[in-house]
Symmetry: C2
Subunit: 351 residues, 2 copies
């Protein structure tokens, strides 16, 4: 029953190689050539008739965790998918599926958190749906948020700056805009969300005080685009940095070189992953962005990031290089290793 050739396994939801193959094999046939950024790009969102459009279902466990809950995650995740395209998120839909017997008090807490997070992101919940499944058919709650956004003035400015440096075909933040020499910037510490989720779970024999980083990043992205010169942005959720950078390498046709010593990571996260034997690069995040920035704008973008509450720990971790293939990590002790797309899932069901 668990042969990944004939049935779906947890690996197919893990944001690594298995999921990408599943998407290519089953869902890519739905692409019919439509959209300025279409289904074929497999990016954070599509762009059609100038509207950025995205969807995500949230199945995180536990539903209340250190630093957040499924409601905050459902708003932040979808807002961020729009923001990572360079879009200005306007409106979200909210579709909730609950099990019979789900406590109304939990629903009230989740809705409260959705309201608060939507206000924080200045995005409007405009439509919704409610379904209930029998107790044995669903565990607790699954939330889907879809979202729409538009191009902002800041995005236009960003591309005016970027165009000084290269030909730009897509005026949205997509991997096809990435060029040799672009700097890779992460907006803050890596791994907080996955470790917070893990330590919020009962019976895993591991505890820490790490809080999830889950937060809407649209205001941070606006500040960055005001500076300009950003070629692409993406949030390292399922699959973490490893999956994200491989995605960029594959779609841009360029190599990426990063330095472990430059990757921001909290002391407690660092000890936790050592203790648990996890790979930092594969851990999911819900309040961080990775940017590919033209080299002459990278310092200014970095400073702008650091001036915001969400990007205080931002750092340049590497660069795009046409002379290498795939993603290469220079380790702290100076060795080099190839970073591949994750095949397993260090912490499942983080979003």
């Amino acid at each position: 029953m668990s042969d990944p050739k004939s049935v779906i396994t947890l690996l197919h939801g893990a944001g690594g190689a298995y999921m990408h193959n599943l998407i290519k094999e089953y869902f890519l046939q739905l692409y019919d050539g439509f959209g300025e950024v279409g289904l074929d790009v497999l990016d954070d969102a599509a762009v059609i008739n100038g509207v950025v459009f995205t969807t995500d279902s949230y199945t995180v466990r536990p539903i209340f965790f250190k630093g957040g809950d499924i409601g905050r995650l459902a708003v932040s995740g979808t807002v961020n998918d729009i923001a990572m395209m360079g879009g200005d998120p306007i409106a979200l839909s909210l579709a909730i599926v609950m099990e019979e017997g789900f406590p109304k008090s939990d629903l009230a807490r989740i809705v409260e958190s959705i309201k608060k997070t939507a206000e924080e992101a200045n995005v409007h919940i405009v439509t919704g749906d409610t379904k209930v499944m029998e107790k044995n058919a669903l565990d607790k709650i699954v939330i889907n948020t879809s979202g729409i956004g538009v191009a902002s003035e800041e995005l236009k400015h960003n591309f005016n700056v970027l165009r000084k440096n290269r030909n730009v075909k897509h005026e949205w933040l997509v991997p096809m805009n990435i060029r040799d020499g672009d700097k890779i910037i992460v907006s803050g510490t890596i791994g907080d969300h996955a470790i917070a989720i893990l330590s919020s779970r009962e019976g895993v024999g591991f505890e820490s005080n790490i809080q999830s980083d889950v937060t809407p990043l649209n205001k941070m992205m606006k500040t960055v685009l005001e500076v300009g010169g950003v070629a692409d942005a993406k949030d390292p959720t399922r699959g973490g940095l490893a999956d994200l950078l491989n995605d960029w390498a594959e779609k841009s046709g360029l190599g990426i070189y990063i330095r472990e010593s430059e990757i921001p990571v909290k002391e407690e996260v660092s000890s936790a992953i050592e203790f648990l034997g996890l790979d930092l690069l594969e851990l999911g995040n819900e309040g961080k962005a990775v940017l590919a920035v033209s080299p002459e704008m990278a310092r200014d973008v970095l400073e702008a990031l650091r001036s915001t509450p969400w990007g205080k720990d931002a750092n340049i971790i590497g660069e795009v290089r046409k002379d290498i293939e795939g993603v290469i990590l220079e380790t702290v002790i100076g060795g080099k290793r190839l970073v591949t797309r994750p095949t397993g899932d260090p912490v499942p069901r983080i979003c």
Copy 2:
């Protein structure tokens, strides 16, 4: 554990009084005044900056049923929500949550059906999401589709015609446009979907050859709007005609009078509901529309409906009346009864 005051019950997903109260108590607080048609209207979709936006999660069981499957339902249902606002559906998102162990062959059948139905409706699948839950955390599959659409030329024409007859504030198909004397038209036979679902279930001790009516209705709606004079349209899904008409009565502040003898119903559906003791008015449909039409345009709209493959059995079933309160049904034998919002669910999990 099943006290509907403190926990969610199946009734809260049933599309009747319990669901409406839940939405009002928990979700309406998310309304912040945004949108031409906002969350407060609780209609099929919202309209924001000229874009129609809607969402639905699909949890139907069985996932393959007589006349359709969860994939066809997920495309049709969301396309119809847009079409019932008078919008022209453009693009859908597709978010799938599966259980571990879900057969890939079933996924392939569902995706195939999604592709076929999307082509039928001329709507594009542009973005998606895939999640996997543990075997004991989800039964089979849940699909969310969200959709966006725009106002069509036909919708403008519809309101040019309607404006001859009344002041129109909303240039979308909403209950606030309904006036005393409007004719109530249903586009075809009622109850097919719910009875098809029921007879597709194992162990219910009931079988019939009724096929679900699940289909995209956007082309039918376009034909109708080309005629003009439609004040509102809505598809009688969960909660059926009973819930839909009560919704209209409540939101328009007018009474609705309908005649049982005029409601189109298939012979086999009629026998089935008699045998099972069900109320036809509470049965869900997935390929039917109910229209409120200005009286002088009603015959033309009816003819236009009947000229389409989806509206062959369309009929005028009653009218809007300011001299009555709520929804009144004139029974076949000439009696009258008040039709209230359903409180139970004759066939749960139909969508």
